[in-house]
């Protein structure tokens, strides 16, 4: 008999974890002398009450969908990919090279090219940690962290010395050509008399992210490879007996994970900045960890969790603008979500399981 019904595991546990993170965050806000209720209202106002706010929320959510999917695909094979940050940075490089050096006639073609560029560069950055894990047993957590730092140095070097726009002091590439610019939500949804999503960066790559969700769902639950990934994640020895190659699964899973993280750059680098800047990821790679944990590694869950973090990100920017609460409050919330949904999962789960068992016993009697 299962200890808990499935819905409780998928919905109740993350919700309770989120609630505890929210309560603790409220205490933090209260402790620094601000009003938690007013702060929450301000966040909702700024992130959800105007279409421009939604434009930012969805823009951030797009990033977090990609990085969240990246982390969760790796989690299915029981690999912890902390390297989303570095992979997304390199993805940015791929996107920038594709946009700068290939003369695209139209954005519809450019987005395909940029997606391929970003995915390949992201996957390439995940390859070395994947290979070392599979072949030499070097722990993928440590190597991906190292590769984050190396990615930053590589990008820093390339932007300062190679790709920098002529005559500019700012370490960034030149602006991408007009034809590669992606249509924003404002371009797509505004009518002649009402302008929606004014000045917000959400763009067509949001739909690319939705597509990625469907792709990951199909991959994990509807293909042989996905089955092998999950089997390997559940028990590598059993997978080995079933003839599934540990080396192949580790490398392929990490490549897919890195490619998903790299795709994030289509949204930030091609969609928003329209050039490659230093630190194009702004920590989105790490937020993917919280998103994947909260979304229970399922694309639907990742999508919802990404929306939530998009809201937190945009709401946090509003807070920083209007109150004395800095943006880093979001980092605290992010940490608490990781802590409760990831590390302290058992603390939430154990009492719940006991509760459900007690109920069942009563029913049985």
């Amino acid at each position: 008999m299962e200890k808990m019904p499935k819905w409780a595991d998928a919905v109740l546990v993350p919700l309770l974890s989120l609630l505890m993170a929210a309560i603790l965050s409220a205490i933090v806000i209260f402790a620094i002398g601000e009003d938690p209720v007013a702060a929450f209202k301000l966040m909702v106002d700024g992130a959800l009450m105007r279409s421009a706010g939604w434009g930012y929320t969805l823009y951030y959510a797009t990033n977090f969908i990609f990085t969240g999917l990246a982390v969760s695909v790796a989690f299915h094979a029981r690999l912890f990919n902390i390297g989303g940050e570095g992979q997304a940075m390199l993805g940015g490089l791929g996107v920038a090279l594709v946009c700068l050096y290939i003369p695209w006639p139209h954005w519809t073609l450019a987005i395909i090219g940029a997606s391929i560029g970003g995915a390949i560069f992201g996957a390439a950055w995940a390859f070395a940690p994947a290979y070392l894990q599979a072949k030499r047993g070097s722990h993928v957590v440590i190597t991906t962290i190292m590769f984050n730092y190396i990615a930053y140095s590589v990008l820093n070097y390339l932007l300062v010395n190679v790709l920098i726009a002529k005559g500019s002091m700012d370490p960034a590439t030149p602006k991408f050509p007009e034809a590669t610019h992606l249509p924003t939500f404002r371009d797509m949804f505004s009518t002649a008399d009402t302008i929606l999503f004014r000045g917000s960066p959400a763009n067509v790559s949001f739909f690319l992210a939705l597509f990625a969700c469907v792709f990951v769902w199909l991959l994990i639950w509807r293909t042989r490879l996905g089955y092998e990934i999950r089997a390997f994640g559940h028990s590598d020895t059993a997978a080995n007996y079933a003839g599934i190659s540990a080396v192949r699964i580790t490398i392929v899973t990490m490549l897919i994970s890195g490619a998903l993280a790299g795709l994030m750059a289509v949204n930030t680098t091609q969609g928003e900045a329209e050039r490659l800047i230093l630190n194009p990821t702004e920590g989105a790679g790490f937020i993917g960890i919280a998103v994947a944990l909260m979304g229970r590694n399922h694309p639907v869950g990742v999508f919802i969790a990404a929306l939530l973090f998009g809201f937190l990100y945009q709401g946090g920017a509003e807070l920083a603008l209007w109150t004395n609460i800095p943006r880093e409050l979001i980092v605290v919330i992010q940490a608490l979500v990781i802590l409760f949904t990831g590390a302290l999962d058992n603390m939430v789960r154990m009492p719940l399981e006991r509760l459900f068992l007690a109920f069942r016993r009563k029913e049985a009697r």
Partner: protein, 321 residues
């Protein structure tokens, strides 16, 4: 490069290696007991802020140090609770701790000091000041050894000497005491320790607490000695370099000293020389900055001898029933 420059580089090597060394020894205790700790970075950062903040408020650096240690140990307690008591994923717990520290320090700093997430500059008794060792001044005239003693050995702050003293102490605790033997056993084979009637949970909590203590000193050193106050994200990946040094040293105290000195030297060179010109071929500063991480990957790949971590590392202990 002349002798004075060499001395200056080595001097800053010692200063830059100190936080790495303390954090590395912290990780050594924790991982030898079977608890992975990628939260070294966060613990140092937390301690850096609270030590600088309390030192500023009280004007006493020792109170600052205590506050730093307390805040770092509080994070250790969370790590212990998550990874020992509730048998959660130690890596995820470490990641959470890093973010918690990165967020809390800036939020609280902004609320207390309103200077954009930093503490005001510390001076006088609210900092660790250099200590002149005896005879440093009078011996500085002696050729070769005099300047070495004067510049390199003398004139550091208390945490620097503490860090170097911690190396033999760690060795002695781990390899010459009953506690150390049990601590190492609990990281290799917790069942055997349990069978012998010694508490696995107690030992692991002790190890995590020691790690908190050492990270606390490392953070306080960063905030009150190496720099005059806390700035946002001031640990700048030192926790991960320390982790790299730990793997490089294969979880041994003396080797930890050598590894952190090496990484400290790399940092000192990167700070001192921007781009290194090797006769036509220029090594960019970014490469020097990335070198500790590249080295770690090379070592992890096993090209320079295989690094084998403690066997029970990362696995929560479940008593046999």
């Amino acid at each position: 490069m002349d002798f004075t420059t060499l001395l200056l580089v080595l001097d800053s090597t010692v200063r830059l290696a100190t936080p790495l060394l303390l954090a590395c020894l912290a990780g050594l205790f924790s991982e030898r007991a079977g608890i992975f700790d990628i939260g070294l970075e966060g613990k140092m950062l937390m301690a850096a802020f609270f030590s600088a903040a309390v030192a500023y408020a009280t004007g006493n650096v020792w109170l600052g140090l205590l506050a730093g240690i307390a805040s770092s140990m509080a994070l250790s307690a969370i790590h212990g609770l998550a990874s020992i008591t509730f048998r959660g994923n130690q890596l995820i717990s470490g990641v959470a701790i890093n973010f918690l520290a990165a967020g809390v320090t800036v939020v609280v700093a902004q609320s207390w000091f309103r200077q954009g997430g930093r503490t005001p500059s510390l001076e006088g008794a609210s900092r660790f000041n250099p200590i002149e060792l005896p005879l440093a001044e009078s011996l500085s005239g002696v050729p070769l050894l005099g300047p070495i003693y004067h510049e390199l050995v003398s004139g550091h702050t208390v945490p620097v000497y503490a860090a170097f003293a911690a190396v033999p102490l760690t060795w002695w605790i781990l390899f010459r005491t009953r506690f150390g033997l049990r601590l190492r056993a609990v990281g290799e084979n917790p069942e055997s320790v349990d069978t012998a009637g010694v508490s696995v949970i107690g030992l692991r909590f002790a190890a995590v607490a020691i790690a908190g203590l050492l990270c606390g000193i490392a953070g306080a050193y960063l905030g009150t000695a190496l720099q005059a106050g806390f700035v946002k994200d001031m640990t700048a990946g030192r926790g991960f370099i320390a982790l790299a040094a730990l793997i490089f040293s294969k979880w041994r105290p003396w080797h930890a000293l050598y590894a952190t000195l090496l990484f400290g030297l790399l940092q000192a060179i990167a700070v001192r020389f921007q781009n290194i010109d090797l006769g036509g071929f220029v090594i960019p500063v970014q490469f020097m900055e990335a070198l500790p991480y590249i080295l770690t990957v090379v070592i992890l790949a096993g090209f320079v001898g295989k690094a084998i971590p403690p066997r029970a590392g990362g696995e929560p202990y479940v008593k046999e029933r």
